[in-house]
């Protein structure tokens, strides 16, 4: 194959700002309470909306009596499907950037109810309290129809989805004959896994504050991971020109995927504001945070065959996930299994089953956090059956190139993750047998697992403006959902122009700024960071030209320069230098502005598989009688290319490990299938990890050099941290107790049942 040309504009080391553990530039605003989130903008005359949610899972609204509710002092209006203003009727008008194939939900469109807690009315009042009280007094009569909300009852009624969502790839065609090879294998495991639905539950509940201006235009403060997505969606649904709708989200109180699609509080707030020609806020309640998007419930089968020396000879991975009746929500669950290990006989199968639920939605590492743990538990079970160390089994079948495509990896330091992670954890050469380590009343166990996620990139734009005072401003319509975007963009800009990070101001979360993709998939640094670099590169070029041409310039005729300490410096002679501010003064320019569009390196991406990798090591302690689990140690070794900021990136991994603990041990949406409704729809009963559940977590970033992924060589770290964790915990619990639980979350009742069944 012809070698591909080197990526243009690659950031070369050593770096001064990039790679530094800079504290968050938005930190002061957050610790003083000065950062304002979507539902916190005070607007004179603001009305408050409260949502009335459907009490049935499927059927029709037959009557809505608003008499008592309207009698509450302060109530202004109640919107229902009977009195709503005209709305777009074409499905495509209701599509957003993250919408899968199908018909998106249209709140208050007609009398139909397709899932429990679907909004059926919006009460609008002068005060929040009046709206909340009146919402309870709206009387809704329904004609219920039989519903199906259980995946396990419907897992044989499936269909195979196509390429039904952006970023989704159906499983690759089978290679070899996996089923025959499995039957003939010297050693094999054949396992079923189930996993409960999970809800994102960011601590900021979804809220939209819509400011209605006298000219009919709107300024919308929304909880979203994509201001442009919301802007174009609102314009489509309400038939408004883009010039009339500005969406802002400078601060987002967590999202984890819940803000990828415009949610119904945005729709209802805009609907009310336009109908009443007043400013309106709609904030969901915590139970209503269970009324949209969730990580789908999943059934899986993983079967592995191997020869006695540990060589994988057969791999089967099948998955069935729930979707709604109206949309085909899909995520990549099984494809990773064909990519992680070398195996000649592989069959991967992915299906959906339609239920009467709201459409699922991407949640941190969608698909990988579900499929990879099943594979990694199966690998552990195979290792025990073979009598092999689990790391050795993984190294034995290590994929040097992507077995799904035959393409090389742009970089893959997973071996180093295994080595450095094992060293930090103190992983022994020979793991003691299961149920052999005891400390008082606790059984102690160690487990490990590998993880993988894609290194994606989307087109993005950014503007860089240099002021006469030498300060730089960066602007792009990206967001910072807590990932550290403000900070890393400032570091990238400072790096290119030889400034301090503190000299760079970053403006994001505004639909009037240059285009950026929705914030998800770990692609923000890759996409938006590259755009910032490109804009700053252009500024650097102009500064170089201006410096060379300045009268009496020490840089006259200098062909190659670098930027350091606020100066333009000759590459070969550091004594020939000129302050940036002087360059601009000499050119008579008060500001210098450049805008750039950055696109993925297509040729490099075509020829390679690009991904992040991890190895996770966990220690658990399980009470021998009670079956309670404590995670007492975690080491997470991550290979994700260049790390722009080890402090904020480290926090991404910490947080994702916490998510992995939640998935493994706690998080479970429990549906009452008689009612078709999640019963534990609050934070007292839907358990998420609290501080007492989380030990100190050791994060190791393994050195990884990548010249294909993007000009920064950075792959993104938002998702990879969760992927291996549930499997490592599950494997450690087996090692501690001798009990395998293949039904997430692994709660006390399941462990106790397993302990009771031990011989």
């Amino acid at each position: 194959m012809i070698p591909i040309p080197r990526m243009p504009g690659l950031l070369e080391g050593p770096t001064t700002q990039v790679g530094k553990p800079v504290s968050r530039v938005d930190g002061r605003l957050k610790v003083t309470g000065a950062a304002r989130y979507a539902g916190e903008h005070a607007i004179p005359g603001l009305l408050h909306g409260y949502v009335v949610s459907s009490a049935i899972a499927k059927g029709r609204v037959t009557r809505i009596d608003t008499g008592k509710a309207m009698a509450v002092p302060g109530v202004v209006h109640i919107l229902t499907h009977e009195n709503r203003p005209d709305l777009a009727w074409l499905d495509r008008k209701w599509k957003d950037q993250d919408a899968p194939k199908g018909s998106p939900l249209r709140p208050l469109y007609d009398a139909n109810v397709s899932h429990s807690l679907q909004p059926v009315a919006l009460v609008v009042a002068e005060s929040f309290e009046a709206a909340r009280l009146a919402a309870r007094l709206v009387e809704v009569a329904y004609e219920a129809e039989p519903h199906q909300t259980s995946l396990l009852m419907n897992r044989d009624i499936t269909f195979t989805p196509g390429k039904d969502k952006g970023g989704f790839e159906p499983p690759p065609a089978p290679r070899g004959d996996a089923d025959a090879a499995l039957a003939a294998a010297e050693v094999s495991v054949d396992l079923e896994f189930t996993q409960a639905a999970e809800y994102h539950n960011p601590i900021e509940m979804h809220a939209s504050t819509v400011e209605y201006h006298p000219d009919g235009s709107l300024t919308i403060h929304d909880k979203t991971q994509g201001v442009l997505n919301c802007q174009s969606w609102v314009c489509g649904v309400f038939n408004l020109p883009k010039s009339s709708v500005r969406v802002l989200s400078p601060f987002v109180g967590g999202a984890f995927g819940s803000g990828l699609r415009p949610q119904h509080q945005l729709f209802l707030a805009v609907l009310a504001a336009l109908a009443l020609k007043r400013s309106v806020r709609v904030e969901l309640s915590r139970p209503q945070m269970f009324s949209f998007g969730h990580r789908p419930e999943t059934w899986q089968r993983v079967a592995l065959g191997a020869s006695r020396d540990g060589t994988l000879t057969a791999l089967v991975h099948e998955a069935v996930q729930e979707s709604s009746q109206a949309e085909n929500y899909v995520e990549i669950v099984v494809n990773w299994s064909g990519q992680q290990y070398r195996c000649d006989n592989v069959r991967l199968d992915y299906r959906l089953s339609r239920l009467d639920v709201h459409t699922p939605l991407d949640q941190r590492a969608p698909g990988a956090a579900t499929g990879v743990p099943a594979l990694e538990v199966a690998m552990d079970e195979l290792a025990w059956k073979l009598g092999m160390d689990p790391i050795q089994l993984r190294l034995k079948n290590y994929a040097e190139a992507d077995p799904n495509t035959g393409k090389p990896f742009s970089s893959k330091e997973l071996r180093a993750c295994f080595r450095q992670g094992a060293e930090r954890f103190g992983w022994p050469d020979h793991l003691p047998p299961p149920r052999s380590m005891r400390d008082g009343r606790e059984l102690v166990g160690w487990g490990m697992a590998a993880g993988v996620w894609d290194a994606m990139q989307n087109p993005a734009s950014a503007k860089a403006t240099l002021g006469a005072n030498g300060k730089l401003s960066i602007a792009t319509a990206s967001s910072d959902i807590g990932t550290g975007t403000y900070t890393v963009l400032a570091q990238v800009a400072a790096e290119v122009l030889g400034l301090e990070t503190a000299d760079v101001a970053v403006e994001i979360g505004d639909s009037s700024l240059p285009q950026a993709p929705i914030q998800g998939g770990s692609w923000t640094v890759s996409s938006v960071g590259s755009a910032v670099k490109a804009a700053c590169d252009q500024l650097a070029k102009r500064l170089h030209a201006l410096a060379r041409d300045a009268e009496g310039s020490p840089l006259a005729g200098v062909g190659s320069v670098r930027f350091a300490d606020g100066h333009v410096v000759a590459q070969d002679d550091p004594s020939r230098r000129m302050p940036i501010q002087q360059v601009m003064r000499a050119a008579g320019l008060p500001v210098l502005e450049e805008k750039a569009l950055s696109v993925p390196y297509a040729l490099g991406r075509l020829r390679h598989t690009l991904g992040t990798h991890s190895a996770v090591f966990v220690e658990v302690r399980v009470d021998a009688e009670l079956g309670t689990v404590r995670v007492t140690r975690v080491v997470s070794a991550i290979a994700a290319g260049r790390i722009i900021n080890p402090k904020t990136a480290g926090s991404q991994i910490l947080g994702a490990v916490v998510w992995g603990v939640g998935m493994a041990l706690e998080e479970e949406a429990m549906t009452d299938h008689t009612l078709g409704r999640v019963m534990n729809h609050d934070l007292a009963e839907y358990h998420v990890p609290v501080s007492a559940d989380i030990p100190d977590i050791d994060v190791v970033f393994v050195e990884e050099h990548d010249e294909v992924v993007n000009a920064l060589g950075a792959k993104g770290v938002g998702e990879i941290g969760i992927v291996g964790v549930p499997a490592a915990i599950s494997n450690a619990i087996f090692h501690a107790t001798g009990v395998r639980v293949r039904d997430l979350p692994i709660t006390v009742d399941k462990i106790r049942a397993g302990l009771a069944a031990l011989p």
Binding site: S23, G27, R28, T32, E129, G482, V690
Partner: protein, 161 residues
């Protein structure tokens, strides 16, 4: 300082050192009073059910969930919110430690975490990291910054000894 009446019941309250004479509705929570009527939005609403701790404030120095406290029951009391912790530009040591240790990501639970930590340190029952974990478990951080929160509080706790 007088605010427009929001209800029939008179109430005097010191908020971050300022004496306020208010009229509130009997059902208004301290949280809604702070956020909606006084525009002190640093105190957060994460569940409105006393389950997440995002609304933690200090009333007469004791940490409470503002969403579970009716405003009218705070008559004559002194409330400190996140906005009242720093002195001008000078951050409270816990605020500075939270920044230094990256003890937050999205920042939404952060004011509640910091107010809760101020209250916890005043209670004086925490000796080490395990105590901090236990006594801070009423404050959920969905971003999962717990290890850094424990470090930040531990540093301030150590300095105070």
């Amino acid at each position: 300082m007088t605010h427009p009446p929001q209800g029939p019941i008179p109430l005097t309250l010191a908020v971050n050192g300022r004496e306020l004479a208010l009229h509130v509705a009997p059902w208004t929570t301290l949280l809604d009073l702070l956020r909606l009527h006084l525009d002190l939005t640093g105190t957060k609403k994460g569940c409105d059910h006393g389950q997440c701790g995002a609304c933690t404030v200090l009333v007469d120095g004791t940490r409470i969930n503002a969403c579970l406290a009716l405003a009218v029951m705070q008559d004559g009391k002194s409330v400190t919110t996140i906005e009242g912790l720093s002195r001008g530009d000078e951050l409270h040591p816990l605020q500075a430690a939270f920044i230094e240790h990256d003890a937050f990501q999205c920042g939404y639970c952060t004011p509640g975490q910091i107010c809760s930590a101020v209250g916890m340190l005043a209670e004086g029952h925490a000796e080490g990291p395990d105590d901090i974990r236990e006594q801070m478990s009423g404050n959920i951080c969905r971003c999962g910054a717990y290890p850094n929160i424990v470090r930040a509080i531990g540093e301030v706790m150590g300095a105070g000894r």
